[in-house]
Symmetry: C2
Subunit: 344 residues, 2 copies
C-alpha cells in the first residue's frame, strides 16, 4: 500500500488538526484572536474537532468570615445572607446575566451564618456558620476544610451527571477578598500589600489597616501544605470552590473562572493538581488589585476587561457568549475551500 | 403646598436619575464597571430610565478598491465578492455570531466589482464597480460619494421603520484598511506610518511599501471638507457606512461600532455631525495598528479586547450580549431597598 498523503493526514495530532481547521476558516490567519486560542483549548479539553457546550451552569458558593469582626469590609456581615436571599429572589446581577445567557444558576450555602427558611431554594452544604477569626485562630480546622472540599466535589459530580460540561464558579461572602489576598500572597510569594485591594470599598486608611491586619495574620502561621494553607487562611466558600474546581477538572469540564476570589481558588487547586490550569477559561480581569498579578502568574489572557469587581460569578456569566462564539465558529464557519474563497 | 422632598426628586435631571438608579442596585458602588457607563449612555440616548433594545441589526457594506491594483493587500480583489457570497450562504464569522446573538444581518453591495446573480439576497445599492485607483485620481467623484452617503441613510431609514433601535456596521472590501488609514491620517493629523497596519496580512517590506504608497497619495491631494476628504481617500462601502451612521444618529439609535474601518467611518461622520459620538458604543479594540490611537482620540473605552482583526462587523456582533447585559441590569436588578439588603 502506498498512501503517503493520507497517512500524513492521519498522523496529525489533535492539536495540529484543530489548528489546521481554525487556520483554514474564511478569515485572515489569526484574525479571530483570543477566540482562536479558546477554540483550540476547548477542542483539546473535549478531545474533538467538534466540541459542544452542554448545560452551562454556575455554582455560587456563599460563606461568612470570622475576620469581619476586625472591620475588614465596609459592608456588614449580614449582607452575605441578604444577598443569598436576593439571588433566590432573582434580583442580583448574577441572576440577570444567567437568565440572559442561558446559564443554570445554583446557590450553595457553604457556610453562611444564618438559617435559611425551609423551602428557600438554596443548596444546603453548610459546613459551619462561617469561619473563625483568623487573627486569633486558623479560619477552619483541617476537618472542616476537607469537608468543604468534598462537598464541592460532590456538587460538581451531580452537575456532571445532569449532563453539564461547562461550569462556572461564583461566590458571595462579605470579607472574602481578605482570605483570597492571603492565599495569593502565600502561594505566589508576593508581598501582601500587592495582594490586597479595596474589595467592596475600603480606601485610604481603612485599606492600610486591612493590609496591616493581613500581614499580621500571614506572619502568625506557617502551614506547609496547600490544604493546610487553605484551612488556615481560606473560607468555607473558597474551600468548597476548590473542591468543585478539582472535580470539574477530573471530569474534563470547561471551567469558567470569575474574578479575584475564584482565581485565588484556582491558585489553590493548582497546588493540589497542576492540570487544573489546562481547563480554565479566565473570564475577566477584575478591578480588584492583585487580580492582574494572579492572571500574569497563570499566563492567562482574560476574555473580558470591563472593570468589574462584583464577584457572584458575574464575569463568568458575561463571558459565556464568547465561549459559545469560539465553539460556534469552529463548528459552523466555512473553510476557504468550502466557500470557494481564494486564499493567499 | 409644601413638598420639598418630592420637588427635589422631580428636578433631578435624567442623568442624575439614571446614576441614582445604577448606584442603588444591589452591588458595591461602580462594581459593574463599563456596563454602568453603557447603561447610563443608553438611558440618555433613549431618554428613559427603562431602555429597550429592539431588532438589533448589522448592515455589512461591501465595496472594491481601485488601489488594490497597487498590491496593497495580500488577498486578491475577487475575495470581496467571494466573501459576499459566503455571507449569503451563512458561512462567514459574522453569520455565525449574528445567528448566535440574535442579530438581523443584511449584506449591502455598495460597490463590488461583480454582478451578483439574480435571487442572491444581497441588497443592491451599488454606486460603481469599485473606487478608482487613488494613486492616480480621487477614489470617488463628489457625486458618487454623495450617492453612497444618501443610500446609506436610506437603508437605515428602512431599518428604523422596521422597529430597529440598535444598529451595527460591518464591511467587506479587500484593500479597505488603506482608505481608513488615510482618513485617520487626515482627520486626526497623525503621521501616516502610525495609521497604517498590516490589514489582512502585510508585513515587513510589504508593509513599508504600503505606507510609502499611502504617504504619496496623501501628499497628492488637499481636500478641504470632510465630504471631499471622504470622496478623495475613501471607499464606497465606507461612504455608505458614513451615511448610515449619520442617519442612525439622527434617529437616536444606538450605534455599534466595529473595528478599524468602522471607526474611520465614525471619525468621518463626526466631522459632519459631532453629535454622532454620543450614540457610539465602541465594541472592540482591534489588533490593526492605528485603531487604539483612534479610540484614544475619541475618548472611547471599547467593550472587548480580543485581538480581533477581521471586520465584517464581527466585533459588534460579539459585543451585543454586553449591551443587553447593561440594559438588563438597569431594568431587572433589585435595589438595596427592594431586596432588603443593607447598604453601607
Amino acid at each position: 500500500m502506498f498512501l503517503p498523503v493520507q497517512k500524513k493526514a492521519i498522523t496529525m495530532t489533535l492539536e495540529e488538526q484543530l489548528k489546521h481547521k481554525i487556520n483554514f476558516k474564511t478569515k485572515p490567519l489569526g484574525a479571530l484572536g483570543l477566540l482562536e486560542d479558546l477554540a483550540l483549548q476547548i477542542g483539546l479539553i473535549q478531545a474533538t474537532l467538534t466540541p459542544e457546550l452542554k448545560n452551562p451552569t454556575i455554582l455560587v458558593f456563599a460563606g461568612d468570615h470570622g475576620l469581619t469582626d476586625e472591620g475588614i469590609s465596609p459592608f456588614p456581615k449580614d449582607v452575605t445572607w441578604q444577598m443569598v436571599m436576593n439571588f433566590v429572589a432573582g434580583g442580583a446581577a448574577i441572576n440577570v446575566f444567567c437568565r440572559q445567557n442561558g446559564v443554570n444558576l445554583k446557590v450553595v450555602d457553604a457556610g453562611v451564618d444564618f438559617d435559611f427558611p425551609e423551602g428557600v431554594p438554596v443548596i444546603n452544604a453548610k459546613v459551619a456558620r462561617g469561619t473563625r477569626n483568623m487573627r486569633r485562630e486558623p479560619a477552619m480546622s483541617a476537618e472542616e476544610c476537607d469537608s468543604a472540599i468534598q462537598k464541592g466535589r460532590e456538587l460538581v459530580k451531580q452537575e456532571a451527571a445532569g449532563g453539564c460540561n461547562i461550569i462556572g464558579f461564583g461566590e458571595m461572602g462579605i470579607g472574602n477578598t481578605s482570605p483570597s489576598s492571603l492565599l495569593m500572597h502565600r502561594f505566589l510569594n508576593i508581598p501582601i500589600e500587592e495582594c490586597t485591594g479595596s474589595g467592596t470599598g475600603m480606601h485610604g486608611e481603612q485599606l492600610t489597616r486591612k493590609m496591616k491586619i493581613l500581614k499580621e495574620i500571614s506572619e502568625k502561621y506557617d502551614p506547609q501544605t496547600p490544604e493546610a494553607t487553605l484551612a488556615t487562611f481560606g473560607g468555607l466558600e473558597i474551600a468548597m470552590m476548590v473542591g468543585a474546581i478539582l472535580e470539574a477538572r477530573d471530569r474534563q469540564m470547561i471551567l469558567l473562572i470569575d474574578g479575584f476570589i475564584a482565581t485565588a481558588s484556582v491558585l489553590t487547586a493548582i497546588r493540589i493538581n497542576p492540570e487544573v490550569r489546562d481547563n480554565c477559561v479566565f473570564c475577566h480581569s477584575s478591578d480588584e488589585r492583585g487580580h492582574k498579578l494572579m492572571l500574569e502568574h497563570l499566563d492567562a489572557r482574560p476574555m473580558l476587561q470591563l472593570n468589574l469587581r462584583l464577584g457572584e460569578g458575574t464575569g463568568a456569566a458575561l463571558a459565556l457568549p464568547l465561549v459559545h462564539a469560539a465553539v460556534n465558529f469552529l463548528n459552523e464557519m466555512a473553510s476557504f475551500e468550502d466557500a470557494g474563497v481564494s486564499n493567499k
